[in-house]
Amino acid sequence: MLKDVTLGQYFPGDTPVHRLDPRTKLLLVVVYIVALFNAKGWWSYALMAAALLAACALSRAKAKTMARALKPLVLIILITGILNMFYTAGTPIFRFWIFTLTREGLRNAVFMVLRIVMLIAGTFLLTYTTSPILLTDGLESLLNPLKKLKFPVHELAMMMSIALRFIPTLIEETDKIMSAQKARGADFDTGSLIQRAKALLPILVPLFISAFRRADELAVAMESRCYHGGEGRTRLRQLRFAAGDYAALALGALVLTGVIILAKRGL
């Protein structure tokens, strides 16, 4: 049950998108988000959707997996849509009690929902096609200029990769502890809210203890392999831009310019 979390999961593959440099993909996602928030009318949204669909097709992401990633956020999307629909001033189409549906509201709602869905789908595509290690490597490399400002870039990237690495481990651990306490007659599904919160204690205490134990063991393992931070550290996998990366970045820039021009004209 806890294992069915799809959002942010990496699916190994060998597609043009999988092969792109992680830095390219990170930059493209930033460009994509900026473009998405600049989009105004049907034409600019259509261009964004075309870019997204092309990326999906190239990375062979299945529509079913995409839908599963969106599922946990359906409620948020719905609420956003409904709020926008009824709380935008404009030409009323339809009135009921205190609710007034306006033409502008309807338009806003459709765009807002589109924007959220495309935002999630785009970022999902990033984690879908990039392994967590490559992702943090790429982030570290992109943030490198900040080192001049004494910003701990390497430490941040290391913390991120450790956190990502331990998500599945901790999920598994939680499952196991839950089963063990259930075997001792613990009940997590019935009772009042306070009772249920109390019932979590037998899970949280062992989970925290094991998290601290793991952190300790990991620190010892890292130190015994002479880890001493990012200074002078070399990499097994060097990140290198290839022709495909330049092409992808150029395409991204084109789409961004296109969207901005279209939006300027109100399209």
Binding site: A183, G185, V205, P206
Partner: protein, 290 residues
């Protein structure tokens, strides 16, 4: 004695991640009967389905198809039935010391009985009884379980399940990661509970020696199926079938077989070093120190 089994599975199947590319069948048509007061060892290679099987026996996992019957009643029939079964069928997980959470040893052992809604007096009796079974002295009951040694923690965790007085006690690799003295101690505790209360005990292990030394009956699993079921002697006589599924007869049994093949008349069944010693001494002519 033709008594009805206390625990029984009928055509038990379990499929993980059904409908995805990761679909795997962990259990296939498992028919198993555990009789009252039996001491059973379940053996199998990693991934043979042992752990999945035992989690079905107390209703923690729901079968994909098939049923689990406790005293003839389906434990998955209702929520209440499942809850009852969890109290009657005690399950000790692998490395159970990682599930301790209370401030004191006493409170931790009391967790199970309190969940059974017993009175404070009954809980007290059960906690002290369970602590005695696992050899934890009364002076330790007020201590924090996190200050104790690994072996003691494991005993306390086992006591936490024993305190529910299960009629079937299932343990997943109870000796894993302990030193030899700790291993023997835990096994003695388990056997003590088995003998005093007459509860059936199921021990999951991948050590043939441990299984042969203690169990009356061995169940061998491979790829989600029960492939052999019988007394240790019967199982070991089919040694050539064991190696393809990643298992092996105990070293001393192999030694005795080799000796017999060489024409030395080794008598009786030999699984452990002690039995091997006795058999060899008997051959030398009635024992006596050498």
């Amino acid at each position: 004695m033709n008594e009805s089994p206390i625990l029984k599975t009928e055509k038990l199947c379990h499929v993980y991640s059904a409908g995805t590319p990761f679909e795997t069948a962990a259990l296939r048509d498992v028919d198993l009967e555990i009789r009252r007061g039996e001491l059973v060892a379940v053996i199998g290679h990693t991934g043979s389905g042992k752990s999945t099987l035992i989690q079905h026996l107390n209703g923690l996992m729901k079968p994909t198809s098939g049923r689990v019957l406790f005293e003839g009643a389906d434990i998955g029939a209702s929520k209440q039935a499942t809850k009852n079964a969890r109290c009657k069928v005690g399950l000790v997980f692998q490395y159970p010391e990682y599930q301790l959470f209370e401030e004191t040893v006493y409170k931790d052992i009391a967790f199970g009985p309190r969940n059974m809604r017993l009175s404070a007096d009954d809980v007290d009796v059960r906690v002290r009884e369970a602590a005695r079974f696992v050899g934890i002295g009364a002076e330790l009951l007020g201590r924090s379980p996190f200050e104790l040694s690994g072996g003691q923690k494991r005993r306390i965790a086992i006591a936490g399940v024993i305190a529910m007085l299960p009629q079937v006690l299932i343990l997943d690799e109870p000796m894993a990661g302990l030193d030899p003295a700790g291993r023997d101690g835990i096994m003695e505790n388990i056997l003590g509970y088995h003998e005093e209360t007459g509860a059936a005990v199921v021990v999951v292990t991948h050590s043939m020696e441990d299984a042969a030394r203690n169990a009356e009956r061995m169940i061998v699993m491979s790829r989600g199926r029960i492939v052999m079921d019988g007394a240790p002697g019967e199982i070991f006589s089919r040694g050539d079938e064991l190696s393809p599924i990643g298992l092996d007869v105990p070293v001393m049994t192999r030694l005795a077989d080799r000796l017999r093949a060489m024409g030395v008349p080794v008598k009786g069944s030999v699984y452990t070093v002690e039995q091997a010693r006795d058999a060899v001494l008997a051959l030398k002519g009635g024992g006596g120190a050498c």
